[in-house]
Amino acid sequence: MPINFGRTGRVLLIDATERSVSAIETGSNAAAFFIGGRGMAGNFLRPFAHLPFDSPQMPLIFMTGPLTGTGTPCSEILSVMSKSPLTRTVFPFSAGGTFGSELKKAGWDGIILTGKSLTPCGIIIEDRAINFGQNHFTPEMNVSQRLACFSTGAAAVTGPAAEHGVLFSSISFSGDTQQGRGGLGLVMETKNIRYIHVRGSGTVSVYDREKLAAAGEDILRLVSASPVLAGERGFSRYGTGALFDLVNSRRMLPCLNFRKTCYDGTDPLNACAYDRSYGTVSHGCAGCDIHCGRKLADGRPVPEYNAMAHLSALTGNSSIERTLLTSAMCAEKGMDPVSAASTIACYMEISGKSPDECDIVGLIEDIALSRNEGALLKSGSLRYAAAASKPGLSMSVKGLELPAFDPRGAYGTALSYAVSTRGGCYSDACAISHEILRKPVATDRFTFSRKPRMIRLTEDARSAVDSLSVCGNIFFAASLEEYARALCAVTGTETTGHDLMLAGERINYNERIMNYLCGFTSADDDLPARFFTDPGTPGAGISIPPIDRNRFLEARSIYYRIRGLSPEGLPLEKKSLELGLSWTDPD
């Protein structure tokens, strides 16, 4: 196994308590088993999964994949993983930007950060030289000012929200305009690490550049053929906000804390409105061939779809200027806009306040700075609603607020929210791809039939994708078949799409074992009651009935069987061993 192709074979272990560093040599077996990225991060996280998120021993892991820095299309994604303060599940998220490739060029496949520094500080990685640096951030400095402190290489920073204990605070990366979900910014903050700055001067070895170019050409040909990505109304032209009109026309756009499913206001809130009002230009992560982001002519980023929808329709805000303002504030304070908006929508419903009575801009700032009502809301909608004795009004699964696709409008999406290892997340199974976007084929969105297997297969594929360090959006066009060829070209090791699927299954199961060790059961694999009792907003010949709970439970049971879980949704020792995973009984 030519470990030096596509991988460095070394992971940097940093103990913030002892201020010590060491290198872990990763063998070829681990690489084959877990690919890299999310899979490898899960492998390193497993022994510590039962610990609280703020335990000094809890690792915060930054992991590249074998394609990072190789020039493979859309492969500059970095996996970040730890235990979520918000959901208490294991929580992987994908970050764009240049941090991953800088890290790889510095000679490291990843970083495992443990311990807790006595005082706030930073970490500076310059190739093999690792140093702890002074914290030169003041509490008033926003994320963009913090990132601007690093003129070379790439940086990961926390923002004011993490310093104020926001459970959905994020880690922000150079060259990435999105905020990760799950609150891993707070994990970094508990370690008293405010930034990681990395500069790499090396190169990433590729086994066969010619074959990689051919594989890349196949991938880009599929991108060009994809209306979702490259079409005139697709992501490349309008950003992911291009989904707004489609989702609204399908009457599954969450409005007013999911009490309605269609926005029928007179003020346009869609991606075209941003374009017309301000003029927008394309923007994307380094190494990206899609450019799913947009920026206004004045440089402000247009929110991605979920933030765009939740900071407007979900909270009853019909001003795109206010949406831009709140989105920018979330970015500058370093927190997840989806959870922030959903928590505010929950607050509005519980408090009985209308959108006109709520200063959403002020609330966002209050959350980030933990003041006024924000001090209650910074813990997310589930904790807030539970404290108000109305937990059913938190539109979340396992505490993670749902994204902007109403589950009553797409049953595969509904099931995937319930069973995702990180909570209410659509990207794990991305059922909207076939239920709404017709890729790879169109499926009937109002049925659970065959969805359990589809969910399981796409979860496996997505786990592999995240582990390769590839952007999930590319899979609206290409598949693991094409990326397996790219991986072969990079590493020189024969790999098929099926091999990657098997690794994806292992990676996903490993996460389920970790959640099991944290006490999660089928009771957590459920949707808020509203979706089983209240209809969505009908119209245009479409009715959105409540989800039939019995059918949902039946589909979930089938999913459990297909996934190799017990009827209670728990992982099994036999299946675990079959997948080559070690088995641990919970304490």
Binding site: P227, A230, S249, R450, R453
Partner: protein
Amino acid sequence: MDRPGLKYSSKLVESGLCEDGAPLFGIMEDGITWSGSIQEQHIPEEALNTLNFGSILFAQTAEPFRSIIELLAEEAQSSIAPDDSETRTFLHEIPVINSFTPGEIITALKRRKGAIIPGRGIIAAGPVTPEQAFVTFSSICFSCYIKFFSDYYYHTRGVKKLPDRAEKIASHALSEYGSALQKINAFPSAKGPFSSDKEVYAAITEAGRLTVSSGMVDSFFGNVSALFNDCIYITQTGASLDELEGCIDCCPLDNSSTCAITSSSEYSAHRALYNLTNRRTVLHGHPRFSVIMSLLCDRHECSNRGRCHTACKEDRLINDIPIVPGEIGTGPRGLVQTMPAAMKGRGVIVHGHGLFTAGACDFTDAFTSLVDIERMCFEEYCKLVQF
């Protein structure tokens, strides 16, 4: 519940790709359900169990596809790589399996979407739905057909040597196809100019159905659009042209909505065509001999040989019909850059891909052109190979 894969089995039979009763679908949900049985059923069953796909399709093809595929498989080492855009974009290559064993099938389907098993037929995977297996099966048949007649032309020119039986296979296939072309006698009844969006939807639906029933597409795919009231009404991506109800997007030209995100990958080309011309309808199909003729070129020393689909600089014509390079969709090498500007007359052929035609106010002239151009290409081909 319907018999598994019944809908797609019927489509395979109706389109002449399989004999009645030949398609065997295996659908995996909470266990495997089969559409029928064969003597060695345990072989595809083991493959499906191992691969864990949602479905699998195994069937022997009907003539002339069976003979064509057998011949190409015999010529191939381990895989076939036709030059058409369908293969290049989606299939990449078609593996050829040496024996009907689970191991060989599994090895092939781990890498690619479908495979040829000489003497047995084609096996295709549907990771998510049976439709995927059907599309792969159908695409393999189409791609092999295109490759065979492209190779056969070079065989008659002495540039390539095919086995002796190629002539007999070609002769039978050409007779059959010529006869089918002659039988096309149904044409669109919806007359323009259209006065309501309801009429537009009906006209597109009818045009799509006729395009399929006349054999002008492969895998039932292509795209159809009409310009009406400053909107382009266009078929959705991946829509089967014989089932267009609910699968037509209305895309306003004023850039006020992004609902067209699900529209055909050729939306940009249709829009550009409407911008450049005064046409009101566009039809795009993949008629076989239009595609085959576009692949034939005697400039063997050309520096762009092998890259004709994007790099051809020649002004190529089949009588009055231009052939242009261009790949599916957008981008600098997309057919959006070439096809619309070339639409001066009845239609334009995109190299290795298919035929675009356009109508003045409804689909009558666009559909007539589609059929006429295909007939012309067929006749030209027959002349070239002296059939």
